[in-house]
């Protein structure tokens, strides 16, 4: 993702041995290319998740031959994991703030915490899936099953990708391999992470909490 704005006249200065493009990118709008791209991507993701959520909404009541939502959802458990994901947004913000202060140590610390919380969430989801499966809701059992697993699965994959990105970022920061503006890279991963959280905010309400 983090390609460098290239047509600009820029000056590179070496830092820590790597070729660090610490460049002031002058763009027409004055905005960073990378951040703009990330926001566009997130705008696009709205339509992706919108489609999955609508499909789920349409099909949630159709579960002949298998358990329905109200039979299997474990609201207290999901609430805990929702809370965990929510808090990971806080730690992410703290990581971004540390990065802006050029405080690598704290940046890394918060990134690791965020990744752990994310991993915990994914773990919760894996547990939830196995539990549901044992209660008779397979991917192919019913329309409800297919659309539930697809929606939450897509979200889970997004979280997993986020965790990998966070950990890779920690590695890159530790070894000074971040190309481009470090704070901005952290911020970009942060945007992605918050978006994934925000999607869960919606899923948690629409899928789990609203009585069907």
């Amino acid at each position: 993702m983090a390609d460098i704005a290239v047509h600009e006249e820029d000056h590179a200065h070496t830092e820590h041995g790597g070729y660090d493009d610490h460049v002031v990118h002058a763009t027409s709008t004055g905005l960073s290319n990378n951040k703009l791209a990330m926001w566009l991507f997130l705008g696009s993701e709205c339509l992706l998740f919108g489609g999955l959520i609508s499909t789920y909404m349409l099909y949630r009541g159709r579960h002949e031959g298998g358990p329905g939502p109200s039979q299997i959802f474990d609201i207290p458990l999901t609430s805990v994991s929702s809370f965990i994901l929510l808090m990971s947004s806080l730690t992410m913000v703290l990581a971004v703030n540390s990065a802006k202060r050029k405080d690598d140590r704290n940046t890394n610390l918060w990134l690791v915490v965020t990744a752990l919380l994310g991993a915990l969430f994914v773990g919760g989801q894996v547990y939830e899936f196995t539990a549901f499966y044992q209660e008779g809701l397979g991917f192919t059992t019913s329309l409800f099953g297919s659309s539930f697993y697809t929606l939450t699965g897509f979200h889970g994959v997004h979280v997993t990708v986020g965790v990998i990105m966070l950990l890779a970022l920690v590695g890159a920061i530790t070894r000074n391999r971040v190309t481009g503006d470090k704070a901005e890279v952290v911020e970009m991963v942060g945007l992605y992470w918050h978006f994934v959280d925000v999607v869960w905010v919606i899923i948690f309400t629409l899928v789990y909490l609203i009585p069907s």
């Binding site: 006249e9 790597g18 709008t29 290319n33 703009l36 791209a37 159709r62």
Partner: protein, 670 residues
Amino acid sequence: MAIIERPSAVPATVGAGGTTELVTPSRALGAYRRPVSTTGWKSWLFTVDHKKLGIMYGAVSLFFFLVGGIEALLIRLQLAAPDNTVLSAGLYNEMFTMHATTMVFLFVMPMAAAFANYFLPLQIGARDVAFPRINAVGFWLFLFGGIFLNTSWFLGGAADGGWFMYSPNSSALFSPSHGIDFWVMGLQITGIASLVGAINLIVTVLNMRAPGMKLMNMPVFTWMVLVVQFLLLFAMPVITVALFLLSFQRNFGATFFDVNQGADPLLWQHLFWIFGHPEVYIIILPAFGIISEVLPTFARKPLFGYKFVVFSGAAIGFVGWGVWAHHMFASGLGPVSVAVFSVATMLIAIPTGVKIVNWTLTLWGGKLWFSTAMLFSIGVIVLFTIGGVSGVTHAVAPSDTQQTDTYHIVAHFHYVIVGGAVMGLFAGFYFWWPKMFGQMLSERLGKWNFWLMFFGVNLTFGPMHILGMQGQPRRMVVWPEKLTGDGFFDLAFWNQVASVGSFVIAAGVLLFVINIFYTAKKKVAAPLDPWDARTLEWITSSPPKEHNFDRIPTVHSLDEFFHRKYEEVDTENGPKLVKVKTAEEVLAEEEANADHHIHLPSPSYWPIVLALGFPIIAYGVIFNLLLTIVGTALVLLAIFGWCLEPSVADDSDYDPPAGGDSTKELATLG
């Protein structure tokens, strides 16, 4: 000579203040060097240059146009006589499915991407796009996706569900071959290409404009491309969802379209058309952009009502989201939905009409030069209008229940697509060829090309109006003799006319292909400004240097180039436009004030590697999950390499070693 600016240990001037900083070369980073070839095949495989990518996009889509065209000719051969046996029923179904898929996804969309890639940076005065490597990935994904899709012909048969692939006919039960799996996965792959391309181009337009290039100074082509990228950005995810649902059903047993489980087949229709209708504007708007460049150039006056044309383009893009269900008037939506979508659809004729009117008024009072590009553009106005008004007859929902799924629809969309989008792209070919290759396509062949296509389109698709109204449904491998009727309107006669017409189009297209080879062989250099053009892409050599502009031009107005050449002088008979500078002089001035120390992105190995992983994953999903793991590993490796790649090539990698001033003198594009 290296085109890639490499960091040299010479002091470079930085910033307005003129402070000097030392720029040192980077160090090699293990295996992750960047390739540096500027000529030869490697320079194409690893290029990140938007112009090279543009040319590759163009070449590949042209190839797919011929493929899709040959499929169309086979369709027309089959339909030339009643109960014909050129194609079997199964093959015929594969043929029209792949004809449409190839034409839409592998020809028109990527051909528009070709022009967008090549000319958008030039038109806004940029040296490249915002994300050159992502740009390269887009191209390779398109190429590999297209090849993947077409390998289905040899691996058990192509998709046979029609291009909108309605469920449940697309379920494994009803289409047991792997064709639809190829279709689903192929479109996913090219879909990623469109999505990343869209993000890239939007950022480019917003962020990389030359000084003075306000949004309202941008050429209309750039504007239309921008609108298209937004449409892609928001439409691709919708089809992505639909395709995922379908492939989960076909490959992993999900139940989304299983009616026995209570599924509603209309789910697919909605998702497809929520994508599909914006898609038709994705198809047409680049062509609108092209002819909005061509018409003013050859009328020698600015586009009439620039702002109206721009806003109407945006309006089309916007309203286009609210009309998708006009493809489902017979699907049983219920009267309220039908009425709402019917009226919404009619609304779209208003902004589109604005464009037609403005083009026509651009011509009014002009000094019209009928070059081939101009002929094609005028052809678009005429043919698109015919297709557009038949679109309005479809928008009238009750009449559409008669028209839908007949040849009347086929007539409508071929008029707007072939008469509109394809002819528009051809206008682009003739208009921009000298800029891209420094050679003029033969105008004489070009005019033959135009007239054959123009008559061919009318001969092929005109009769389809009659066929439709006489009740011939589409997608029928045979039409029966007993239902042809006789007299003036009989189906047999008009089907024959249409079939003959398709070969007339083919002759036109063939002339274009011949023209390319003829031109390449003749090797006559084109004048710098053959058309007396108006926009920024002409303020550079033909073909443009690798860094596009010696000096980033400063823009003062719309039609910047024109205003540098012409000035208004007062004469006795009032003000008069006089040419004060030739294009050569304009260019010389730029060259004389060239920017120093231009920094261009280095080529990269990773885009092609990354893209290659996707078809492997897709084959894996169809044939053997082990392959999927291999593909995924390749993708991960490529991402890893991508991230660790230094931002420029290592000094010692340059070949031949550059000496002295490394910023100039670029290899030609060949």
